[in-house]
């Protein structure tokens, strides 16, 4: 993974003048699907690329070491090897970008990945995921414990209360402390955009999170009613670009929640390409938080290679 975003001093003038026009952003969002399309070999290559962006996720109450192990194995072998061979891609080391679990399952995941002999990082959600409504002290402790267990990336949720009441300084300080608690681990800040009230707040929260040193900003926990949507993504990507133009620091972006089809993932890739450029099309700067997406991509690859639609049992489960 790339170097950390060191962040900057809090500068509220960066967010005070911002204007986001929601209907105009919606119109832009509607065009993403229509303006770009990739076909045939381009589609196959783009889909394989999408696989390498996936944070393969399981965040359920009934997670145990056995399904974590299965997930980790799927992360290592996301696409059936004969399909990769057919595309002459078997030696490209295609794996998902990370495995994302609850803090208590980090040990299981680290162990399973070690057994599989790979270096895929384990990401842990933390800080009172998904609501963030616990004391700061316990939230910080949660990060430290997850890092101790071997998590290389920490997906923290912000305190929405601070955004809705406009306490930007406090929000900045909290994320600063998250950053410190992470140590060498990467900090991915979940904005829970479905609960921020307006696109203007989304922009402001994005900017604060980046100033405070987040390596990634992430749309949602996957547990809110509204998850990763294009309008929200457009606003966050514009914030990332503005932050890059101001500081020279590249911050990553992670949409999560509701991205299930291969077609959707292609639209997300072209959105990144259009708004930020090819430099952002790498796992260090772009992730997709998903669980069901991978199997749909595998089905599409299967179809591309064989010309047939796969049966359910043709592809290994995760």
């Amino acid at each position: 993974m790339s170097a950390h975003n060191r962040g900057t001093e809090l500068d509220l003038s960066w967010i005070s003048k911002i204007q986001v026009n929601q209907p105009a952003v919606l119109r832009r969002a509607e065009q993403i699907h229509a303006r770009r399309t990739v076909k045939k070999e381009w589609q196959a290559a783009w889909l394989l690329k999408a696989v390498t962006f996936i944070d393969l996720t399981t965040l359920s109450g009934d997670d145990t070491s056995s399904n974590i192990q299965r997930l980790c194995y799927k992360a290592k072998y996301p696409i059936r090897e004969d399909l990769l061979k057919a595309l002459n891609m078997q030696d490209k080391g295609i794996t998902t970008a990370a495995v994302c679990v609850y803090p208590a399952r980090v040990c299981d995941a680290v162990k399973a990945l070690k057994a599989a002999g790979c270096t895929i990082p384990v990401a842990a959600v933390a800080t009172g995921f998904p609501a963030g409504q616990t004391h700061l002290k316990t939230r910080l402790e949660e990060i430290r414990l997850a890092v101790e267990d071997g998590a290389m990336e920490i997906d923290v949720v912000i305190n929405r209360t601070l955004v809705l009441t406009g306490q930007w300084e406090v929000l900045y300080d909290e994320i600063r402390q998250f950053r410190k608690a992470c140590g060498e681990a990467h900090l991915k800040t979940i904005l829970a955009t479905g609960e921020l009230g307006s696109l203007t707040n989304v922009y402001k929260a994005s900017m604060i999170a980046m100033m405070a040193g987040s390596d990634f900003i992430k749309t949602s926990t996957g547990k809110e009613t509204v998850n990763a949507t294009f309008p929200v993504a457009i606003v966050m990507l514009r914030a990332i670009r503005d932050f890059f133009w101001k500081t020279g620091n590249k911050v990553g972006f992670k949409p999560a929640g509701g991205i299930r089809s291969a077609k959707d993932s292609l639209a997300w890739l072209s959105l990144i390409k259009e708004e930020l450029g090819d430099e952002w099309l790498k796992p260090e700067l772009f992730r997709i938080g998903a669980s069901a997406l991978l199997s749909d991509i595998e089905r599409q690859i299967y179809h591309h290679v064989t010309g047939r639609y796969a049966a359910y049992h043709d592809l290994p489960m995760s």
Binding site: N21, A24, R27, R36, T37, V38, A44, D82, M89
Partner: protein, 802 residues
């Protein structure tokens, strides 16, 4: 089971992450052309018309240059056949109940739905426009247009009683405009009961396909006829018997040429010209979204023209940086590719753009071009032109596709002056997050359409039009329907063309006047002078013309006005305009009512003066009374707001504003010296215009009498009355570039002159063509067509959301 394909390029693409070709198959378009043996004729009366011995033009793929088909060029005979078919079909079509016409339109919408792939691939293949735009916007909108106008036809008897269809409509569509522009005009025409002949440029198969689809519905084959031919056929089409209106959309120069050639030919001319758009970007805008607005406006194959971008100086650098970054990601390529933003418009459009760029550079402008553009012709990259000196010739001309010409401004007031300071008045968008500012700008822009924080939205229910050179015809909404309607009982328009009318000398000389004998009869006591700027002034010529009564005796002298007096009157009217526009309709009504009361006080004097001019006592009394009623009626009517359109695709309202035309010149008829004067003046004032008026030539004294009351009642300059030689004054008004509209009631020759002279600033003109009008009848003296002509519509789009 899966075998390795060594030729696979997946590896390479995986590392570059480039876009690849995403061609949309156009096999069905070629298959359709094959059904015509690759030879397209005209579609007339439900049948293909492929006459022998006609020259043909190749229809080419604009990218590859491949010959797709040959298209026959129409001759006068073919146009006549199409007009004949439309005339025949008109009888049964206009007689149908609206509900049946609605049904037919719905069937056509379904037909388009069934063959939409053919329609969009053919249109994209031939025009070179991005297929995404045709497929996702044009074709659905074409269906919505049919749907909307079908519902309007359904309620026509009820909602549009008092109106009847005009008759056969000639529509002239130039090559740069799409199939959709044709749909915008044929839908309302067909809905209200007109039939249509469309003249399309050679090598445009999509309109022919549409006509075929309509023809294959079986019934009413002659309602839509399409002939393809050179522009010279436009005059032939306009001269066909039965053609009541010619609608033209396209280039400004071509529109002017058409206005010139069609003067006196009979059909009314509806012009919708130019394609340039304007964008105002204020410092409190969402700049990133505004940049997307620029992409929509200029680099998306949506608009046929370029964009004039005005940016507040405080956000200029930021805007330019974002704009350039965005431009770098645009993709240009074959229209049928599913992953391009912009296609091509062929070599002519490219040369025009290239010519403008070179000229701008030579005048000191900076030109920035970017985007992923194939190096082969005929593509042209998205282009941004900055630092063009405002006084350079380039800055005055229309910005062509796909250029954006950006200039900075300091204040909102300056932005308005710059945006309004062009002879074009089509569409504009305002980008500002301050509601008050956005609405103020939206109101003050002299444009047909203003979008707030959006650009290029269209909807069948919203009228689209323009002012100044952009023409004064409308499409969409109710205004679009009125274009093809006339008040019931209007006589058919006949040609009144006068071969020997000399445009150079018409009304040029003022006859010299000499004393005309003793004044007899009761003292006229008419005020002497021209009523200009709120007071009576001596005419520039310092001479007078005698006015005789019905017995041939001298009634009195009126001032002989001339060119300088007209100039002064127009200036005075312009000075009065801002104050009058800002008055509420209620305040205007109050003044009209006060004027009516003044007329009442003068009743006996006015009656006796009318009697002296040969009007019987009873009739004279009626004329004065009716005049009072007109003033009061128009005062009240102007307060009623028209219906607000509801756009289907928009969250938020669209305001349909009725705005004054500006300085309106009126040449009153000779007959009804008081009533016609008041009937024309009242609606003009009620809708906020300021007026320069030439009263009845035979009896101008009554109008001058009324002016005496205006001195105290009305703001100075609101109404200016100039007496004198009517032909001469008409000439001065018609040729005045700063008169925004002209109503002429007089001779056929004068009408023809007015029509032709209006070519200069394309002011909307309304001429009587030498036909008298029954001013005492409600339908003609105070009809709804006066209301339509006294104001212009502006659509103000207000998207909402947070």
């Amino acid at each position: 089971m899966a075998t390795t394909r060594p030729e696979s390029r997946v590896r390479e693409i995986f590392s570059t992450m480039d876009y690849g070709p995403a061609p949309e198959s156009h096999a069905c378009a070629l298959a359709w052309l094959d059904t015509q043996d690759r030879l397209l004729g005209h579609y007339v009366n439900g049948k293909w018309l492929k006459p022998k011995d006609r020259t043909s033009v190749p229809c080419q793929d604009p990218v590859t240059g491949e010959n797709l088909a040959s298209c026959l060029q129409a001759q006068a005979k073919d146009v006549a056949a199409a007009a004949e078919a439309a005339r025949t079909a008109l009888e049964s079509w206009r007689a149908l109940p609206g509900a049946s016409r609605a049904q037919h339109l719905i069937r056509l919408a379904k037909m388009i739905q069934k063959h939409q792939r053919l329609l969009w691939t053919l249109e994209s293949l031939v025009t070179g426009r991005a297929v995404r735009e045709v497929r996702d916007r044009d074709v659905p909108l074409a269906q919505q247009l049919l749907q909307y106008h079908a519902t309007q036809a359904y309620t026509q008897e009820e909602a549009l009683s008092g109106w009847e269809p005009m008759g056969v409509i000639g529509l002239i569509v130039p090559p740069t405009f799409s199939l959709l522009e044709m749909m915008w005009r044929i839908c309302p025409a067909l809905a209200v009961g007109c039939t249509v002949v469309v003249l399309v440029p050679p090598a445009s198969p999509a309109p022919l396909l549409l006509a075929q689809l309509a023809g294959e519905l079986g019934r009413f084959p002659g309602i839509l006829n399409v002939v393809s031919g050179p522009p010279s056929m436009g005059r032939v089409l306009a001269s066909q018997p039965g053609v009541q209106k010619v609608a033209f959309c396209g280039d400004i120069q071509e529109g002017q040429a058409l206005r010139w050639t069609l003067a006196g030919l009979g059909p009314e001319l509806g012009l919708a010209l130019g394609a340039e758009s304007v964008m105002l970007l204020m410092e409190v805008a969402d700049v990133d979204s505004a940049v997307e607005g620029v992409v929509d406006a200029a680099w998306s194959d949506r608009s046929p023209g370029g964009l004039r971008l005005l940016v507040q100086e405080s956000v200029w650098d930021d805007t330019m940086r974002r704009l350039r970054a965005r431009m770098g990601r645009l993709r240009v390529g074959r229209g049928l590719d599913g992953a391009v933003d912009m296609g091509t418009r062929g070599a002519a459009a490219r040369d025009l753009a290239q010519h403008y760029v070179l000229k701008a550079q030579s005048q000191g402008a900076q030109v920035f071009q970017a985007g992923d553009v194939p190096s082969v012709s005929p593509f042209f990259p998205p282009t941004l032109v900055c630092d063009l000196p405002p006084a350079s010739p380039c800055a005055q001309t229309e910005v062509p596709w796909p250029l954006v010409v950006a200039s900075p401004f300091r204040t909102a007031k300056e932005a308005l002056a710059m945006a309004n300071g062009t002879p074009r008045g089509g569409s504009a968008s305002v980008w500002s997050e301050r509601l008050g500012q956005a609405l103020e700008l939206g109101h003050r822009l002299r444009m047909g359409t203003v979008w707030i924080n959006a650009h290029g939205l269209r909807d069948p229910a919203v009228p689209t039009g323009g002012c100044k050179w952009s023409g004064s015809s409308w499409h969409g909404g109710l205004d679009g329907m009125y274009e093809y309607l006339q008040p019931s009982g209007t006589p058919a328009r006949m040609p009144y063309f006068c071969e020997n009318l000399n445009y150079d000398t018409f009304g040029l000389a003022v006859p010299s006047n000499v004393p005309a004998g003793p004044e007899t009869g009761p003292s006229s006591a008419a005020p002497y002078g021209l009523f200009v700027g709120g007071r009576f002034q001596a005419p520039g010529t310092r001479s007078s013309r005698p006015i005789q009564d019905s017995h041939g005796n001298l009634h009195g002298y009126v001032a002989e006005g001339g060119a300088k007096d007209i100039r002064g009157a127009v200036e005075a009217a312009h000075q009065a305009a801002p104050g009058w526009v800002d008055q509420s309709p209620g305040a205007r009504a109050a003044l009209l009512w006060a004027l009516a009361a003044a007329l009442e006080r003068r009743e006996s004097a006015l009656t006796s003066k009318l009697e002296r001019h040969g009007v019987e006592f009873k009739a004279a009394k009626v004329e004065v009374e009716l005049s009072m009623r007109r003033l009061r009626a128009w005062g009240s009517r102007a307060q009623a707001q028209g219906p607000c359109p509801q756009a289907a695709e928009l969250r938020g309202p669209v305001l349909r504003l009725r705005e004054p035309l500006g300085v309106l010149a009126i040449v009153c008829p000779d007959e009804w010296p008081l009533l016609a004067f008041v009937s024309l003046l009242a609606p003009a004032l009620a809708y906020g215009n300021t007026v320069v008026l030439v009263p009845s030539g035979a009896c101008p004294i009554l109008a001058l009498d009324v002016c005496q009351d205006m001195i105290t009642l009305l703001p100075a300059g609101l109404v200016n009355v100039v007496t004198g030689d009517r032909d001469h004054l008409t000439r001065c008004l018609a040729l005045h570039q700063d008169v925004q509209a002209l109503w002429y009631f007089g001779s056929a020759q004068g009408s023809q002159f007015v029509e032709r002279a209006s070519t200069g600033n394309l002011k909307p003109v309304w001429v009587s063509r030498g036909c008298p009008r029954a001013w005492d009848q409600e339908a003609e003296g105070a009809g709804p067509d006066l209301e339509l002509r006294a104001a212009r519509t502006k659509a103000l789009w207000l998207p909402m959301g947070d």
